[in-house]
Amino acid sequence: MKQKLMATALAAAMVAGPALADLTVVDTSYRTGPYAANGIPFSDGYQDYFTLLNERDGGIGGEKINLVECETGYNTEKGVECYEATKGEGGGALVYQPLSTGITYQLIPKATADGIPLHTMGYGRTSAKNGAVFKWVFNYPANYWDGASHAITHILNENGGDISGRKIALVYHNSAYGKEPIRTLEELSKKHGFELTLLPVDHPGQEQKSQWLQIRREKPDNVIMWGWGVMNQVAIQEAVNIRFPMDQFIGIWWSGSENDVKAAGDKADGYKALAFHNLGDDYPVYDDIQEYVVDSGNAAGAGDQIGTVLYNRGMYAAMLAAEAIKTAQEMHGTATINAAQMRDGMENLEMTEEKMAALGLPNFGPEFSVSCENHGGNGFGAVSQWNAEAGEFELITDYYQSDQEIISMLVAEDSAAFAAENGIEPGC
């Protein structure tokens, strides 16, 4: 009887368990809770791209991708639980995309100890750009401080290169995430001579009357927003209410999805948001996703998010992970790479226009390269604008580089402090 049970259990494990040789990628998603509306399209895009590679190409380098989804609810504790529960899946997870700055901060020491790379694309700890200190963390192609600089550069470009004496307000979520751009903006304020006003908003941001009354009284020329979730919708609605000019209102890329302008409707027309990838669904890869993923019933969600800002971002993250896997496979001459080899692939990733065009994503993201010293890419970004009539965000600028003089100084300073605190000897 005991032998029968063991045999049955073994057979079940062989049928149900993932093949050890698979390339395991974990999607720490949030499809429930207050931020689900943003988590769903990102996760759909992330998963659909890997499903496309499995269905169309038979995986990467002949190896299927074993996609493991774990629900975090955008909750830091649950995110850490997900990491611990899934890091050993299918012979070991290759990479994590935590999609939360809070979860990222908790995972940095764990992933570093475990030797599993994190990709925190456009979020997380900004100074992780310094790969000499943060060996296992990557935040290409752009980070928060790049974003702050992109916003100021855009205002500079709109005003003939002179913004001295101009009043710029930062409306931000009163959390570690929301405070990220402050130091950069302060440095840029000294450099360009604009007056910076800081307006923190309490979590979750449903009530912002005080901040917008202050904006109405003090009449800043521009407002920059660092929000997430309901804070974005309320801020845009309040800006509409006080008749703040929408084209002078710029959100970070996490404040620039269709969800954010929905509540304000047509009146949000002209609202701007930063972007580090292109928008819309007019790319050849989407035809393949439709054919191999959606029409064949393999889509991660309902298939109704394709082409939205956050779906594109999730798909872009998956594409960058897949390209890093390919790079690692080429470097190490094996299709069945491990997490350490994945890290090498990420550290040697080079995204060129030719490569993106060949993937069916021409001009989808900026060109960039990663190195041991630079885990954050080249700091290129663009500005998008909400076109209410068309019902979509559109890129209105080319990709341009952030102020590297200031960003490099801040990254060096912050990463050196982290290295000193944690006894890390920087080096490549």
Binding site: R31, T32, G33, P34, Y35, A36, A37, I40, N174, L198, L199, P200, V201, D202, H203, P204, Q206, E207, K209, S210, L213, R216, R217, G229, V230, Q233, V234, Q237, V240, N241, I242, R243, N259, K262, A263, G265, G297, A302
Partner: protein
Amino acid sequence: MPDQLIFAMEVFLNGLMAGVLYALVALGFVLIFKASGIFNFAQGVLALFAALTLVGIMDGQVPFSHLINAVFGTDIHHFGWHVPALAAILLTMVVMVALAWAVNHFIFRHLVGQEPIILFMATIGLAYFLEGFGDIMWGADIKKLDVGLPQGINTVIDEVTYGIFGYGFFIDNLDLWATFVAALLVIALVIFAQYSKHGRAMRAVADDHQAALSVGVSLNFIWVMVWSLAGFVALVAGIMWGTKSGVQFSLSLIALKALPVLMLGGFTSIPGAIVGGLIIGVGEKLFEFAIGPMVGGATENWFAYVLALLFLVFRPQGLFGEKIIERV
């Protein structure tokens, strides 16, 4: 008149309006606590569920469409009709009454006589269930809610105050409507509680369950009625907050704004919820205006909870709450 004083007047008025919105949420807590002694952790989720249902009905959305499509391989999402706001509000109320019946029938009927902490924990479970149920039923996307309430600056107030002070006050039309509706709601609830047969029965149940039962009051009926009323108040709160931010799952977090109001006004007083809301609204806005810039801002939540804490220390029953004296 100094500019700062004029600005403070504008902040004061906006604080009153914000307070009304807080009070709308607090009212639902008070109704249920008053009648059953249950601190309803699910009140915020009730507002979310009501607003989701309202938008779903208005937009002709097929409930559980994602589930139906996943199970049966169909591709249905909408019925193809649009229901007028008033009819949708009435239909939503029918859903909320059905929910009240279900809550009582499946949960609280079985918990009569249990300790308050057990009842409170049951409402925590209810909150999680309802949030997931609402997600499966209506989807997690953000929905625009437009029941025809005007939004944006009230130009009359703007012009009048500009004429007087040389500075036009900003008052949101939606907040004015919320104040009007809240006033009507409170008057109706007070009249109902004081002068109607069922209202008196509700108060009798609140005073003593067993005594009310002994004179023929149906506990089940009263609890269903009270949860229905709380559902109605939640719907009103959901409409007001949902119009501002879109209907989304963060709506359930508005309960956080009601807690200090309840501590201040008392858990058992309908006027207390209103007065508490106004004090919190005005207090936090004026504090943010006057002190916020000196300490880095974002003081509103802090102020509300510190004020509530002070009341807990010096007047634990709140401004209008009943002082419970237990003889031993």
